[in-house]
Amino acid sequence: MVFSGLVFLFIFLPSVLLVYYLVPFKRKNAVLAMFSLVFYAWGEPVYVLLMLYSVVLNYASALIMESSPNKKQVLVFNVVTNLLILGFFKYCGFLTGIVRDITGADIPELKVALPIGISFYTFQALSYVIDVYRGKVKPQRNIVDFAAYIAMFPQLIAGPIVRYSDISAQLRKRRISLEGFGRGSMRFTFGLAKKVLLANVLGETVEMLGTGDLTVLGAWIAAVCFTLQIYFDFSGYSDMAIGLGRMLGFRIGENFDHPYISSSVTEFWRRWHISLGSWFREYVYIPLGGNRVSAAKHIRNIMIVWFLTGLWHGAAWNFIVWGLYYGLLLLFEKYVLSHIKLPKAVALPLTMLFVIIGWVIFSANDMASAFSSIGAMFGAGAAGLTDKLSVLALIESWKLIIVGALFATPLPAMLCKKLTDNEAGKAAVMIYAMALLVLCTAFMSAQSYNPFMYFRF
């Protein structure tokens, strides 16, 4: 199920909330776990078994690890199993394709439907068992509470990746209040608006332009619209997750901090998908030695982390290239640019340029079309400067590009905060949020276009 659909907002959510608020506190995690499984089964009826398996596997691993003298073996077994499951469902087709290309052997292509959110919940589970191994957290003895953590529907399919250590206390005790519910529902409303009113509508322009035979103007509009689309899609989803969590009494950490105002690529990755970045730092980069090693090893560490980051986003070469591209950019910033101080007026647009090019690689179907799109942006192989289609795309999208660029900055949130200082301002924010909710409902009812961007993650 996706948050931006009528069935979620007008059947599922009211049902969860009613039951969740009616049962006594000690039953709330069970209600949450049960509804989360229904939520997951909605899109993937069969894979709910996989989800249950993952719950049992990680629950049992942690308990066994606690009492076993061979902690390390249990950990290795668990991590390998988790990664094998992820690998089988996500990377099997990709790997058999590579083997076939290299050997020329006639291997049938293995196509397995990707269980939604598997990359997210596998990483959550890994954070749990590794933290138990490190002694950072105590294993969870209540399997219902543990299932509520792994399957928790707000962040189940598109993050944020909530680490067990951040939420274990809340599973036992959390404050559920009307004020928290209200804050959560406002956060949810803003996130929904980002997804439905900005990301989906910008996505229509991206789709209209397609990828073939782009003009210079068309290639830029497609790149800029996708840049905004993926930000509002992803950060909108995180906002909805955080808001839903808040409605249920959970405090989930922020996942985005206005990445498009960054003055360096390093800063961009501190602001973009924060929970993924910190997961890789905690469980890959630092265990490899981080930056407290020789330059050569540091470079190796960075490239490993960014290769994996790319691969995590999808089983295709362009994701790997996209990850390595960021690895190289970060190394360049660290070892070359750190000696030069660029003025903000140069650094900010330059960072955005690299980010936009990154998204072109990310969004392409394959590397060939990524190169042809990037080429077209700079005139190489472009089908002219403009044509009717790209001018039409500009006419249709310029307002949203401006609005989108504005909403990618912290200004709207600052304005909102300022407005709530006085009564008239509060009324304005209230009406604004209600209008967004109605408008989102209208857009969802007309349901012409509601893609889900994370199927490949």
């Binding site: 009528l6 209200g182 999208s397 408008l439 007309a446």
Partner: protein
Amino acid sequence: MKKNKNSLFYKLYGVIFAAVIIGCTFCFVILPKNEYSSREKRVLASFPQLSAASVTDGRFMEGLEDYEADHFPARDGLITLKTEAAALMGKKSSHGIIRLDADHLAECFTEPGAQDTTELTWAVNAFATRHADSKTYFCLVPNAVSTYSDRAGEYCPGDDQNAYIDDIYRGLSSLKAIDVREIFALNKDRVDIYYASDHHWTSDGAYMGFLAAQAVMGLTSQEYSAVVIDNEFLGTLSGSSGYTLSKMDSVKVYLPLSQQNYTVSYDGEGRMAVSCYDTTKLEEDDKYLVFFGGNYPRITIKTDCGEGRKLLLIKDSYANCFVPFLLRSYEQITVIDPRYYSEDLDLQADSVGYDDILFLYNVNTLSKDNCLVSVLNNR
């Protein structure tokens, strides 16, 4: 103190939000459901079948999404809100429909692949060659988006119909083309050639088409008086786009000044009529059905015009309001709609021995339809 004030603000929004989602869910569940949307002219989704199989493969879930979208409270209003909001954001079209101006809608055109066009012209040419005793004509009527391209603007979504019409006519070597574009261009600002809210041409438009055909086919003309028979027509373009118009369309018919007798036989239905007009359809939403009551596989019209000529008309719904102009010229007219016709068209043509064969289509139907090719090729 300040914190308390904000707390009240969030509490209030929490209550409103909960009331909205619970209220809408409640209304959705208890309100009576329509089976048919008169506005969109389609049957709405029914409640999906609940079974182990339909849940396992996800059909139930997909069905429920469609069902809720089709039966959501105040759906028509929400769709209009969406369309107008999207237009404010800059969208030029909604579901492939654009606004020509405040009062006129038009359907955009997507050019089919070159292979489809070749297959089509080949099939029509071959049919004309097989029936070389008859004179074969082809009339391809552009849609509003093309005729009123000046209103649609330079950057209208979709492709150019003129190039497509030229391609088709160039491909139809064995036929005589009836090109209505010139007469449309001369009259388009004087009369409404198309309904403002519907994809069909008006009777005024069809009359222009008749004048163009008359010059090529040597048809008999007569005097008409145009009579408005309905003022409350809201066509499919308005319904399926969500755009609202300031006024409704009127439906006009051209009545000949001199009386003429004819019979209309709906073949296969065993039904006869003595008029081209089924005025009971004016009670329905789709007032264009007044012409012959809609589309039928085969209609045979016999007139007392005494000319002795016979016409085979292969057509889409544009012909429904065009046929009345032909009654003075032919003693027998066989009207075939290939979308519903499943018999042998060659047999039909051979057994009657038509003087003329006319293909009458509008561009948007012809370019999307593949029934014509299959009917023509089914020798």
